[in-house]
Symmetry: none
Subunit: 208 residues, 4 copies
Amino acid sequence: MTKQEMRTDATKKAILKFAEEEFSDKGLYGCRVDEIARKANVNKALIYRHFGNKETLYKEVLVRVYTRLGDLEEKVINLQTDYELKLKDLVHIYFQFLYDNPSFVRMVMWENLHGAKSFKERGVAETKNPILHELGRIIQEARLRSEVPESIDSDQLILTLIACSFNYFSNMNTLNIIVGKDLMLSENREKRIQATTEMLLAYLKARQ
Amino acid sequence: MTKQEMRTDATKKAILKFAEEEFSDKGLYGCRVDEIARKANVNKALIYRHFGNKETLYKEVLVRVYTRLGDLEEKVINLQTDYELKLKDLVHIYFQFLYDNPSFVRMVMWENLHGAKSFKERGVAETKNPILHELGRIIQEARLRSEVPESIDSDQLILTLIACSFNYFSNMNTLNIIVGKDLMLSENREKRIQATTEMLLAYLKARQ
Amino acid sequence: MTKQEMRTDATKKAILKFAEEEFSDKGLYGCRVDEIARKANVNKALIYRHFGNKETLYKEVLVRVYTRLGDLEEKVINLQTDYELKLKDLVHIYFQFLYDNPSFVRMVMWENLHGAKSFKERGVAETKNPILHELGRIIQEARLRSEVPESIDSDQLILTLIACSFNYFSNMNTLNIIVGKDLMLSENREKRIQATTEMLLAYLKARQ
Amino acid sequence: MTKQEMRTDATKKAILKFAEEEFSDKGLYGCRVDEIARKANVNKALIYRHFGNKETLYKEVLVRVYTRLGDLEEKVINLQTDYELKLKDLVHIYFQFLYDNPSFVRMVMWENLHGAKSFKERGVAETKNPILHELGRIIQEARLRSEVPESIDSDQLILTLIACSFNYFSNMNTLNIIVGKDLMLSENREKRIQATTEMLLAYLKARQ
DNA sequence: GATGAATGAGATTTCATTCAT
DNA sequence: TATGAATGAAATCTCATTCAT
C-alpha cells in the first residue's frame, strides 16, 4: 500500500466515521452531507467522489455498523459449557454490545422505519451474527442432551432474546420515563440482563 | 357550534388525519407539509394558521395517536378473574392494539430516535395507559393472594411485556428476514402472544 | 380573470420572456436558472413552482418561440396573385421573420444540435407554418395552371427556401467572415432575398 | 523523435480524438472534461498539462476539424473541364464531405451560436477551403469564357452553395420531420445534390 | 377562515481546475 | 510525464414559512 493509498484510506475512514455519527443520529433524511464534510474536515465533493451519493454512503455505514456484530464471535466461542451459564453469558454479551454500539441500535431502527430497504439491498441480513448463531447451537445441544423438549420453538427464543435486549436500548428514552428510572445505569442493566436470562430459562424449563 | 365552526373542526380533523399518515410514515423531517396539505385537500397556509408550524402539528399528532391507548380501558376492565387468564388476555389486547395502530408504533419509534423530545414536552407519558395500569394491578393482586412473592420486580414484567409486544411490530421488517417468516400473519402473531404469555408466567412461577 | 390571476400571468410571462433571452442565447445547458430569475426579478423557487424544472421551461420557450411563425398567416394570405410575385413576397416575409426573431433561429439550431429532442416531444413540428403552407399552395396552383411541370419535386423547393433563408441567419457569424461583408445590413439582405427568389424561379423555369 | 515523445504524441492525439467526439456532440459547455479523460483513458490532469484548459482544447479541436477541409484539395484539382460538370462534381464533393464529417457541421454550428468567438480568435476562416476556392475559379473561368455575364455576384453563388449543402446536414433533425423523409438516405442526398446543382446552373443561365 | 403566490435559506450534486507525489 | 486525491465555486432543486387578497 503506497502512501497515497494510505492517505485515501484514512480519508475514507474519516468520512465513514463521521457519517456514522450523523446518520445514526439523524437518519438518512435528517443528516446533512455538509455536516459530515465539516466534521471529517474534508471537501464535500470528496464525499461524492468516494461514495457517489448520500444514499450509497448511508448504506456503506449500515453495512459497516452491522459488521461489528461479527467481532463478537471470539467472545462467544469461549463460553462456558453449561447451557444455563452459556445463555446468561450470551445475554450479557449482547446487552454489552448494544450498550457499546448505540449507532447499531439506531441504524436498525432507521432501517425498520424505512421498510428495511437498504438492509435488504445490501444483504445486511446475511452478515455473520454470532449471537443468533450461538443461541441456535445452545438450543440444539440442549435438545440433543434432552435438556429441553424437541418441540421447543427456537424462533420464540430468538424473538424474545432480541426483543428483551434490543428494545431495552431502542426504546430507552420512553422506557426511562415509564419506569421512572435511568435504565442506562449499570445496576439497572444488570438487573435486566438477569431477568432476561431467567425469563428465557424459565420458559425453557416450563416446557420440559 | 355553528356551521362555520363545524367546518373548521372538520378541516382540522382532516389535517390531523393525514398529518398522522405522513408523520408516522416519514417522521418529522422526512414528512412534507405540502404533502399533508395535498392529501387533506386544504391550503398549506391553513395548516400554519391552525397549528402554527410543522413541529407543533407533529406534537399534536403524537398526543392524538397516544391517546388511543386510553380507549383500551373498557376492554381491559372486563377481563377474567384468574390472573393467568387475565395476563394472557392483556398480552392479546396489547398485541391487537399494536397490530391495529401501526402509526402508534412508528410514532413511538420516531420519538425514541429523537430523544423523546416531543414526548416529554407534551407530557405524553402521563397519558392513561390501561395496559400498564392493569399489569400493575394483576401483579399487586397476585402479591396479595401470595400467588407471587413480594420480592417480584414489577418493572421487569413491564419491560418484558413491552419488549415482547412492541419490538415484534417495531422491528417487524428486520425480524421477518431473520426468522424467514411473515410475522404479520395471524398464526404467527398468535404463536408469539402465546409464547410471550408463557414467558411471563414461567418467570413469575419460577420466582415462587 | 381576477387581479391575482393577472399578477400570476404577468409573472409567468416575465419568466418566459427572460428565459427566452437566456435559452436562445446560451442553450439549455449554458443558461442558468439563477440568471433568468435575476432578470425577471422573481424568486428562483417561483420558476420551479410554475414550470417544474429547467427542461420543461426550455420546452415551453421553444413552443412559444415557434408559435410566432403562425402570426405570419395574416401577412401571407394577402399576397399578390401572380405566382412569381407571390414567391418573391414569401421569401421576403420569411427573411424578415428570421431577421426579427433571432431567438427563433437560435432555438432551432439548439434543437438540431440536441437531436430535436424537445422539438419532437412537444410536437413543435405540428405548429402552423404559414410559409411552408403557402409555398405548397403556390406550387400546387402553378401546377394546375401548367406553369410548372407536374414532375416538380416540391420538397426540393421547400429545402431550398429554408436553406437559403435560414442558413443566412444561422451561419451569419461565419458567413460574414467568409464573404467579408456584414450580411445583417439591409442592402445585403435585400440582395440575398432577390437572389434566393431568382434561384427558385430559375429552377422552376428550367424545369419547364 | 524519441519513444517518450512518440508516446506523448499518441496521448495528445487520443485526447484530441475524443475531445472532438465530445465537443462536437455537446458543445463547449455541455461537454465534460471528465468524460474526455475517461474515453481517452488518460488522467484528467494530463489534459490540463497538455492543453491548459477546457477552452483551449476546444479551440484546438475546432482548428483540427476545420483543417480537414483542406484535404479535399486533391479531389478538387482533378475535376472535369466543363464548368457545368465541374460544378456538379463540386457540389457532390462538398455534400460528401459534410456527410463524412458530422463533427465539422456541428462545430461550425456551435461556433455560430457562440458568435464565432473561437473561430475568429484562431483565424479558422483563413484555413484553406478548396470548395470555395474552386467555386471562385469556376466562376472566374466562366466569366473569361463569357459563359456567364461579368455582372454575376459570386457571393450569392457562394452563399447558395453553402446554404443548400450545409443546412441540409445542420438542420437534418428538423428537416426530416418537416419533409417526412430520412434525408440521410443515399437516394435523398443524391436528389438534393442534383437539385442544388440545377439551382445554381439555372441561376447562372437565367442571368445570361 | 381560506387561498395561491411568493420567498429565503439551504440541500444535494456537479465540474473545471489544482495539488501532491 | 503521469496520476489519483482534493478543492471551491456554482448549479439545480427543495421546503418551511409568510404575504396579499
